[in-house]
């Protein structure tokens, strides 16, 4: 019999029962919830008159809608305030732990879970948010779900799931200077396309992945959904164990050692079979940037926008042309040097302490370009605290940047942090869809280093020229 993949090992432990000819009843260890995709789920529980099945396995925090300035004041936007208030009420009514605004643990769910040690190897986790795949960095099966499924997990701690196919992507070798984990994932999505991972759960492996910090690994798993994959995961190792150790909800003392013994069994067997497998050379990866309206439309920053005429499929070509028209670009355009007035450093993809350290390194001793408005948004209150503790705030402020308060912010522009129509924004977030950062906004996805370099020059910049 063939060996098992990491994914299989975790999956099998969480199957409660299998419906003949149907999906499996799949047990969820932790559900994270936020204000946008949960109200209708709680409504459903009320209509049925049923409680939450396991209140201790649910953690809530508001993130999508919250302002990133003056969080101590009532939220000005009526609808946003109502939604956040509804989350407070739902958590109180149903007995769920809530890290509300002004709580020291508040932040973007996918930043909060790992930093508190709630996310641990071998777990299954869901959230009504597609970037739940982030937690796979710890060797978890973590994926986004819709609100009906949020309700199912609240009511039964289970979901009906059909097992996805397995893919492994190996990145071997050493990354070049100026290349970060964000570049790895943008490179992979450009290679495999925005739908290339659909139907799969992806394991990221290889020496380049092993060498990454947990923050960097989270960035990669976070964006596995942008290839259409249900999620991504990475086998836990000493980097993982050291990250989890000592965190608030991590096992302590002898319990931790016992847990590590179990976690060390979480890897793909040498003879495990994957339905698809790809291997790339880390040395081929350069700083990446997107030029279009899906995350698969990415190039090395020094390359030119691809030529529409090279696309053979007519429908594909029409969609490509539509994207370029929206972005105001043309086939063959060079992106380096294009003026950019907005820069966003934040989101569940790139708002962890490491990201702000990288930004500080690039901007240290330099000045932000006068034309640039920058949103610098920590992923959580804990990250914010660390920014101040490490003096990163001083470096950023000296360079002309303002540090805002935690939330999803300009990643999806549900609050006031928007990019105006027609303006370009080099953004460390995860989606460059039309209107994602505000109606008519034009998003170029890149690493925090590239975003920082662009903010300094006021035009698209290859960070390797500054470091």
């Amino acid at each position: 019999m063939a060996g098992k993949t990491l994914f299989d090992k975790i999956w099998e432990k969480h199957v409660v029962t299998t419906i003949p000819d149907g999906p499996e009843v799949f047990y969820i260890d932790v559900q994270y919830i936020h204000e946008v995709t949960s109200p209708q789920a709680f409504d459903g529980l009320r209509k049925r008159g049923i409680p939450v099945f396991n209140t201790k396995q649910i953690v809530a925090t508001p993130d999508h809608n919250v302002p990133t300035l003056e969080q101590h004041l009532p939220i000005k936007n009526d609808l946003s305030r109502k939604q956040v208030d509804q989350l407070i009420k739902n958590c109180a009514d149903f007995g769920i732990e809530l890290y509300g605004l002004n709580h020291p643990y508040q932040g973007i769910v996918h930043v909060v879970g790992p930093e508190l040690g709630i996310t641990k190897p071998g777990m299954t986790m869901v959230c009504g948010d597609s970037h739940t795949s982030t937690h796979g960095a710890f060797g978890c099966i973590a994926f986004g779900i819709g609100t009906s499924e949020v309700e199912q997990v609240l009511a039964t701690q289970c979901l009906l799931q059909t097992k996805p196919k397995r893919m492994r992507i190996n990145i071997e070798g050493e990354l070049q200077k100026g290349v970060y984990s964000k570049d790895i994932i943008l490179y992979l999505i450009a290679k495999l396309t925005a739908g290339g991972g659909t139907g799969y759960f992806i394991e990221f492996a290889g020496s380049a992945i092993r060498s990454l910090s947990m923050e960097s690994r989270m960035t990669i798993c976070n964006m596995s959904i942008e290839m259409g994959a249900r999620g991504g995961l990475i086998a836990p190792d000493d980097t993982t164990f050291n990250y989890v150790k000592g965190r608030k909800f991590a096992p302590q003392g002898a319990d931790f050692d016992k847990a590590v013994t179990e976690w060390k069994k979480l890897f793909s067997d040498a003879d495990a079979v994957f339905e698809a497998e790809f291997t790339y050379d880390a040395a081929d990866i350069a700083p990446m940037i997107t030029y279009g309206t899906n995350p698969g439309m990415g190039i090395k920053i020094s390359e030119n926008v691809p030529n529409s005429k090279d696309i053979k499929d007519v429908k594909e070509q029409e969609s490509f042309d539509k994207a370029l028209e929206y972005m105001g670009f043309h086939s063959g355009d060079k992106l380096i040097g294009k003026p950019v007035n907005y820069v966003f450093v934040g989101s569940c993809t790139n708002a962890r302490i490491e990201d702000f350290r990288i930004v500080a390194e690039v901007v240290k001793g330099r000045q932000k370009a006068a034309n640039v408005k920058a949103y610098i948004v920590p992923g959580s209150k804990q990250v914010e605290k660390q920014i101040y503790a490490e003096g990163i705030d001083k470096v950023l402020e000296a360079a002309g940047f303002q540090i805002r308060q935690p939330g999803c912010s300009a990643c999806l522009a549900m609050n006031d942090d928007k990019v105006p129509a027609g303006e370009y924004c080099v953004s460390t977030s995860n989606r460059n869809f039309e209107g994602r950062q505000g109606p008519g906004a034009r998003t170029l996805l890149a690493s925090p280093a590239t975003a920082a370099a662009t903010a300094i020059n006021g035009y698209i910049t290859d960070v390797r020229d500054l470091i």
Partner: protein, 194 residues
């Protein structure tokens, strides 16, 4: 959930690829706390200018109507927002046909009685051609037999659906009813793990 057995109706052709859920329902309309009313903002920024005047877009084109939305490949990619399925359903659609769906959208649609049908790229093109040539062209969806057919030409194709999901759609069953019925089994599983 509403039952779905079969349907014969005209279709709206939206032959764009990689339509993401941010286009289907932009994030700024996700602030509601109920499931209703999302239909009026379906494809908001493709349908209307910022001053609310209508744009040249297929949903504003009076010659097209019907309960089927036919769309290009990788439909529903991006965000997990179920609001996308709610918006399409609320706008009166019962079926979405594409050559490729994003996973989460597909689940969300099925959980709301909106049937996602995956057809071959060739058959999808035939549907686009038929509807664009004659907006009154009818498409027949037979879930029982898993067949989708262009009525006038008789061209048809079989489609796949998970047997369990098919039973749910035909009978209007929710997953949650089933999960609640096996609560004891879930508790047993928890006790065994502890």
């Amino acid at each position: 959930m509403e039952k779905f057995i079969s349907l014969t109706t005209t279709a709206v052709p939206l032959s764009i690829e990689n339509i993401d859920t941010d286009q289907i329902i932009p994030a700024r309309f996700l602030k509601a706390t109920t499931r209703d009313g999302f239909g009026e903002n379906l494809f908001r920024d493709w349908r209307y200018n910022s001053d609310n005047t209508p744009k040249d877009f297929v949903l504003n084109d009076k010659k097209y109507s019907g309960k089927i939305l036919a769309a290009g490949k990788n439909f529903g990619c991006g965000s997990s927002r179920e609001h996308a399925a709610w918006a399409i359903h609320d706008a009166g659609f019962k079926v979405v046909i594409s050559s490729f769906f994003a996973d989460i959208f597909k689940n969300n649609a099925l959980n709301n009685g909106l049937l996602p049908i995956t057809v071959s790229p060739e058959f999808l093109q035939k549907i686009f051609n038929a509807v664009e040539a004659n907006p009154k062209a009818e498409i027949k969806v037979d879930l029982e037999n898993q067949i989708v057919q262009i009525v006038a030409s008789g061209e048809k194709e079989a489609f796949e659906i998970n047997a369990y999901k098919k039973v749910c759609m035909i009978n209007g069953f929710d997953n949650i009813d089933y999960l609640l019925s096996i609560k004891d089994k879930i508790k047993e599983y928890e006790a065994k793990r502890a």
